[in-house]
C-alpha cells in the first residue's frame, strides 16, 4: 500500500484483496498515517483491489469515524465491478463521497 500527501489530502492506494484477515493491517497503516497528518480529506483508492467483502465496508466506516475526530472526510475512488456492488448495497455512500472517473 502506498500513501501520498498533498495540501491536506491523504491518498491511500490500497492493493490486494480486502477481507477480514487483510483489513487489520490495512487499517493500522491508514490510521497511523491519518493520525500523523490529520488530513481534511482521506482518499481511499481501490483501483488495485480486485476483491472486497463486507470487511471493506467496516474498514471504510471505521475510517469515516476516525476522520470525524478532526472534521475530516473520506472519499472513495477507483471502485469497479464487485466493489461497486458492495458499496451500493451497504449504503456507505451516505457517509463517504464517491469519486467517479470522467468518461
Amino acid at each position: 500500500m502506498q500513501f501520498f500527501y498533498e495540501e491536506g489530502v491523504l491518498t491511500a492506494k490500497l492493493a490486494g484483496e480486502i477481507d477480514h484477515h487483510s483489513a487489520r493491517e490495512i487499517r493500522e497503516l491508514i490510521d497511523d498515517h491519518s493520525r500523523r497528518k490529520k488530513p481534511y480529506c482521506l482518499r481511499l483508492d481501490f483501483t488495485n483491489v480486485p476483491f472486497m467483502d463486507s470487511s471493506g465496508i467496516g474498514l471504510i466506516l471505521g475510517r469515516v469515524r476516525l476522520l470525524q475526530l478532526w472534521r475530516g472526510r473520506v472519499v472513495l475512488c477507483g471502485l469497479s465491478g464487485n466493489l461497486n456492488k458492495m458499496v451500493e448495497l451497504s449504503g456507505v455512500s451516505g457517509v463517504a463521497a464517491i469519486e467517479r472517473r470522467a468518461g
Binding site: 477480514h20 487483510s22 463486507s54 470487511s55
Partner: protein, 143 residues
C-alpha cells in the same frame, strides 16, 4: 437430487484461510465456465460465511471449518459452510442488516451480502454445536 460433482474441504479457523477458502471454491467452479460476475458474487458470499465462522463461531479459539460444494445438473450450485463453534441463539436477529456482535470494525452486513449475492441462503444452528450456512446459486450455461 444427486450432484454431478462435489468438493469437500476442512481447514482450521485461522483468518489467513479466508482467502484460500474462496479461491478453492472459485477454482472448483471454473468447470462451469462461469462469468466473472457470477463467480465473484459467490466468492463474496463464501468469504462472508467463512468470516462469520471464524469471527463469531470460534471467537478467540480455533476450530474446524467445513465447506462442501455441490454442482447439480443444469448449473445449480450449493455451498455449505459449517462450523462447530458457539452457534447463533437468534438467527432472524443475526440476519438483520447492520446487526453485529463483532465490534465497531464490523459492518454487520455479512448475511445481507450473502442474500443479495446468492439466490437463497439457509441458516441452521444449535447453540453450543455450531452453524451451517447453505448458499445456493444458479450459474447460467454459456454453452
Amino acid at each position: 437430487m444427486k450432484p454431478i460433482n462435489k468438493l469437500e474441504i476442512k481447514f482450521p479457523s485461522n483468518s489467513v484461510n479466508e482467502g484460500f477458502a474462496r479461491a478453492a471454491v472459485s477454482a472448483f467452479l471454473s468447470q462451469l465456465d462461469p462469468t466473472l460476475g457470477e463467480l465473484t458474487d459467490l466468492k463474496t458470499a463464501v468469504s462472508e460465511a467463512v468470516t462469520n465462522a471464524i469471527v463469531h463461531g470460534y471467537k478467540e479459539e480455533l476450530g474446524p471449518v467445513y465447506i462442501t460444494v455441490k454442482i447439480f445438473e443444469g448449473g445449480k450450485v450449493t455451498v455449505r459452510v459449517r462450523d462447530k463453534g458457539c452457534g447463533i441463539p437468534d438467527i432472524p436477529k443475526a440476519m438483520e442488516p447492520l446487526y453485529t456482535t463483532g465490534g465497531e470494525e464490523r459492518a454487520g452486513l455479512g448475511f445481507a451480502v450473502m442474500q443479495s449475492f446468492c439466490d437463497s441462503v439457509r441458516v441452521t444452528s444449535k447453540v453450543g454445536k455450531g452453524v451451517s450456512v447453505t448458499l445456493c446459486k444458479h450459474f447460467e450455461s454459456r454453452v
